[in-house]
Amino acid sequence: MPALKHPQILLASNLTDGEVVFLGPSGWERDHVKARVAHDKDEAAALEAFGKAEIAANRVVDVYLADVAVGADGVPAPLHYREKMRVKGPSVRLDLGKQAAGGA
């Protein structure tokens, strides 16, 4: 199993409302906590292949893999500040985006 530098999750934007979604064990999730984590290159490739099919099926757009660190609780946390922002919402409006629901 070819190793990854960091584990990865798959992000996308939902087609109808544009909200950020994460590929979970059985489909797209709105909370990154439920994201499926790829630990090696094969798993990452499988996530990507699934994402491509989902684009073709017109359910999501803008699919890509992002590096994460997996916490002791098994929850993946993005490493780059761009995706750190995407899992929550605008840092200047805590009442908007996913963080507003008390999620992230």
């Binding site: 087609l15 995407r86 200047v92 409006r93």
Partner: protein, 573 residues
């Protein structure tokens, strides 16, 4: 229901804005219907994203970091109270109760759903608004001086010209697929408030020795990855030649503009690579050879358009308002507001009011739907129902009686819109940056907020005087950082947000691009660095000098030195 519906008419509806004719209305309605069909086919899976993207962009719909974003055109920044109310209603019904006013005098919604977009566009069409040509490689929304028609230093109101150009450029078949987007700005005043020197084409209305009105045409300005100040291609184009001359410029650009590299595709690169003389020769040759009859100038048509912008029914008033004078003395906060946010009007007894969308610590350019309604009401009660969006991301009430200023101020104050900082250090231009924008390399809003809080004392701000800070979240320069007296550019450095500071930018006729101060600073350092620069300026300035004047007089190196001394060896600044 249409905007001409008598039930919507208000006793003091503005008389100084363009109104759609049957052709405009039908065109916009058709476009909405067309987009509704495209969205339907996309959702049914009959169009792929690659097929759909150009359609959505033609209707101003982007995909951003957290959601879609819809950019609504506000031609030359002019809005009626009715339109402002509709923008508020849309914000409530289809978005999150607010909108963002941009440096291109437009409005952006940050949270629309794809499925709702056709309904939003329909709601806009009902009040003669749309999102056409707010994206894509076409001639974008034409911008103009936000003090149009009321500035005492004006040669002529630039809005009829801007409207003339809007009609010419809308759905222009030859210019819908240019090498790159194209931006035109117009000013008619002695002082440039429209940043015409940094647009693809900048037009300054001028009068020649014979007393005829015409245009000084500037071409090849622009910000973004490679910033350039525009060059004069014609000192005087008579009005009769304007459309044909611009058509000639566009054709030359369309023919010779680079299409091989999107970063080199703007007309500024053509002008830079070929030189203005060669571009001018090509344009003049095209102009001489082309069939100009199709662009024949019809003075009656220009007059017809100009009539829409005729002055509102002003009253005859004394130049000085006793009521204003008394209120200023009695209410110092109001006095400060008048001193900073109120500008002279060409008609005696009236004033031009800048409503700041930059409360201390706020998000530059954002307005809640309640604030939009308060602005609509303010314009109806005190300003012939007319509003403007400035490229500085503020709202202008262009015709307020001096006698009404105090009542207006009370209304604005109650809506959180009375911050007396127009043009001062906390009146910061900022693009959305990484809080919303998918292209961003760093955040820009929190930097603006931190600086604004650092300078929260408005009396200190007044002592500092006019000082433009402009912030962009990436090299695209939507926040105009290159032309900020202090410019801040957000970048990524080793996986961290980093901010590059420039000094000496100027967006007016004396345009200049800011010079880089040194290595980037962190978000935490940014307010300190700005404060040191401001303190140094205060210590060095001569009586009455603005920041940029002091910087020009004593030179960039001295400012750089200050910072080198502040940080141990300058390494981290």
């Amino acid at each position: 229901m249409t905007a001409h519906d008598p039930s919507l008419a208000r006793p003091n509806a503005p008389v100084t804005t363009y109104r759609y004719d049957a052709f405009d209305a039908a065109f916009v309605r058709e476009r909405v219907a067309e987009f509704r069909e495209q969205v339907r086919r996309r959702l049914e899976g009959k169009l792929t994203e690659d097929e759909f993207r150009p359609f959505r962009l033609m209707n101003g719909l982007y995909l951003q970091l957290h959601a879609y974003m819809l950019r609504v055109a506000i031609p030359y920044g002019t809005l009626t109270a009715l339109q402002m109310r509709r923008l508020a209603d849309i914000a409530d019904k289809y978005d999150r109760g607010y909108g963002h006013f941009t440096t291109r005098q437009n409005l952006q919604y940050n949270w629309p759903k794809l499925v709702d977009t056709p309904d939003i566009l329909e709601a806009l069409a009902e009040v003669e608004m749309h999102a056409i040509q707010t994206s894509g490689n076409c001639i974008r929304n034409v911008t103009a001086d936000h003090f149009s028609g009321v500035a005492p230093d004006e040669i002529e109101d630039p809005r009829p010209t801007a409207e003339f150009l809007r009609q010419w450029s809308s759905a222009h078949p030859e210019f819908s697929f240019l090498p790159r987007k194209f931006k035109i700005a117009v000013t008619g005043a002695a002082q440039d408030r429209a940043a015409i020197m940094v647009h693809d084409i900048g037009l300054a209305i001028v009068k020649n020795d014979a007393g005829e009105i015409g245009y000084k045409v500037v071409v090849g300005g622009g910000l973004g990855r490679s910033p350039f100040i525009g060059k004069v291609i014609r000192d005087f184009a008579p009005r009769a030649d304007l459309l044909a001359y611009l058509e000639a410029i566009m054709r030359v650009y369309n023919r010779f503009g680079r299409r091989d590299n999107k970063y080199k595709a703007r007309i500024k690169i053509l002008v830079h690579e070929k030189g203005i003389d060669e571009v001018r020769a090509a344009v003049e040759a095209e102009f001489a050879a082309m069939d100009r009859s199709v662009f024949a100038y019809d003075p009656a048509e220009f007059d017809r358009i100009a009539a829409f912008f005729a002055p509102p029914p002003y009253e005859t008033l004394p130049a000085d308002s006793q009521k204003l004078r008394a209120a200023r003395v009695e209410h110092p906060a109001f006095g400060n507001f008048v001193e900073v946010n109120v500008a002279p009007h060409k008609i005696p007894g009236y004033a031009v009011v800048t409503v700041s969308l930059k409360p201390i610590g706020g998000i530059p350019g954002d307005a809640t739907s309640a604030q939009m309604r308060a602005l609509a009401e303010a314009s109806e009660r005190f300003g012939f129902g007319e509003l403007r969006v400035s490229h500085e991301q503020n709202i202008i009430l262009p015709h307020v009686k001096q006698d009404d200023l105090f009542d207006l101020w009370k209304l604005l104050d109650a809506a959180g819109l009375a911050t007396a900082n127009a043009g001062l250090v906390s009146d910061i231009i900022s693009c959305p940056g990484l809080d919303y924008c998918s292209l961003a390399t760093a955040r820009s809003i929190p930097i603006a907020q931190a600086i604004s809080k650092r300078f929260s004392d408005l009396s200190r701000q007044r002592r500092i005087g006019k000082l433009g800070i402009k912030i962009s979240g990436c090299i695209n320069a939507c926040g105009h950082h290159h032309v900020g007296a202090i410019g801040i550019l957000g970048l990524e450095k080793k996986g961290q947000e980093s901010y590059q500071i420039t000094l000496g930018g100027d967006p007016t006729f004396s345009a200049s691009i800011g010079e880089i101060l040194g290595p980037g600073v962190t978000a935490e350092q940014a307010p300190d660095v700005i404060e040191h620069l401001v303190d140094f300026y205060l210590a060095e300035r001569h009586e009455g000098e603005t920041f940029i004047e002091t910087w020009r007089r004593i030179g960039h190196a001295r400012f750089k030195d200050v910072l080198r001394r502040e940080g141990e060896d300058g390494a981290d600044i």
